[in-house]
């Protein structure tokens, strides 16, 4: 357990970050990160996910490689990131300059009853990212750090990884489109791909 409880409120923090996204494509991890992005204001540039735990970063990698002129940011949680930890090494190996990863880290499995997650203990995802070749990482603990984190996620040469230590909060449901074919079609259409 952390010495002090996390303070950042996820919904206003994610909304503040996304105000700086400047056309970046957002690959939302399943569950809460998807709800957070949708709650901040729906956009066809957001690829929502309802499953496939561990695949937010690989999906963002494929997209970043196929769209080298667009910034791609994966927004995921600590549980999903740890399930796909190996994918950080694949990103480090491919080293796309247009890819960033944001981990919303509440140190819990929030969707399933707030059971303890490994980042509440000794696990340091940022250290892993540096160890597999990410160019820069940043861990933020204060609500007021959205601006500097946004600069990393949306501007700095990638691959970069940010961690926001978020609080356990009770947020209203904000559920986007659930039909994957509709989500994918809308996303591709916004990119101008048939």
């Amino acid at each position: 357990m952390s010495a002090k409880p996390n303070k950042i409120e996820r919904r206003p923090f994610v909304a503040e970050l996304l105000r700086h996204r400047d056309g970046s494509l957002i690959v939302c991890g399943l569950g809460s990160p998807t709800w957070d992005c949708f709650a901040a204001g729906d956009s066809p540039d957001y690829l929502y996910s309802w499953g496939g735990m561990g695949l937010a970063v690989p999906t963002a990698l494929g997209l970043a490689l196929a769209q080298p002129d667009r910034r791609v940011v994966a927004v995921t949680g600590d549980g999903e990131m740890l399930m796909g930890l190996g994918s950080l090494a694949v990103v480090g190996d491919q080293a796309p300059a247009n890819l960033a990863v944001l981990v919303l880290d509440n140190e819990r499995f929030g969707e399933t009853g707030r059971q303890r997650g490994l980042t509440s203990g000794r696990t340091d995802i940022a250290a892993v990212a540096r160890g597999v070749g990410f160019r820069q990482t940043m861990t933020v603990t204060e609500q007021g750090q959205a601006g500097e984190l946004a600069a990393l996620l949306f501007k700095a040469p990638g691959p970069v990884l940010g961690i926001a230590k978020i609080a356990i909060t009770d947020d209203p449901w904000a559920l986007p489109e659930k039909d994957g074919a509709v989500i994918a079609h809308r996303f591709k259409s916004a990119l101008g791909i048939k």
Partner: protein, 175 residues
């Protein structure tokens, strides 16, 4: 100089070129050596080495969403690592093309390969992947073409299962 014997991987490579499948995600297998060598040697292709096959499912889906075609090449044991991940392309109705070289079937000497090898086709079909088994080297190319066209023109997940009979069973001196 004698012409080297034709190999099924040449047919697959040509089919990939013709269909603009330029990204290959892989955990390698002995049966894929020649194909992976061709891909690595050609600058028009991108080879992505994974840590687990399931990552390839996400990468291929992301590539397609971004307007490019990718596939995943793996050994049959890797299919087990992909099962939940395949829910992603199936739900997005995104094409996901897998080339699987089989172990645990024809003349397998290693019992550890058999459980997953025998489960590949039923497991893939259970999560909605169309399977194309092939047990003749001369038919791998056309089978790959059929699976690729179903995947990319029909927005489906498809797997070509190249039999151990084509690859040749390993023995490690135990035959």
């Amino acid at each position: 100089m004698p012409k080297p014997a034709a190999h099924w991987s040449d047919d697959v490579f040509r089919a990939m070129q013709a269909r603009d499948i330029r990204t290959v995600c892989t955990i390698p297998d002995g049966g894929l050596v020649l194909l992976l060598q061709q891909i690595e040697a050609d600058p028009a292709f991108r080879l992505i080495t994974l840590t687990s096959e399931q990552e390839g499912i996400g990468v291929a889906t992301g590539c397609w969403l971004g307007g490019q075609r990718a596939m995943i090449a793996m050994q049959s044991s890797g299919v087990g690592n992909c099962i939940n991940a395949l829910g992603l392309p199936v739900a997005y109705r995104a094409p996901c093309l897998m080339l699987v070289t089989m172990r645990g079937q024809w003349g397998e000497f290693n019992p550890w390969q058999v459980p997953m090898g025998q489960a590949v086709k039923p497991a893939l079909e259970a999560v909605g992947v169309k399977c194309f088994p092939v047990d003749k080297a001369s038919e791998v190319g056309e089978t790959f073409e059929a699976a690729a066209d179903l995947a990319f023109n029909g927005w489906m997940s498809a797997a070509v299962l190249v039999s151990q009979r084509v690859i040749g069973a390993k023995g490690f001196g135990q035959k």
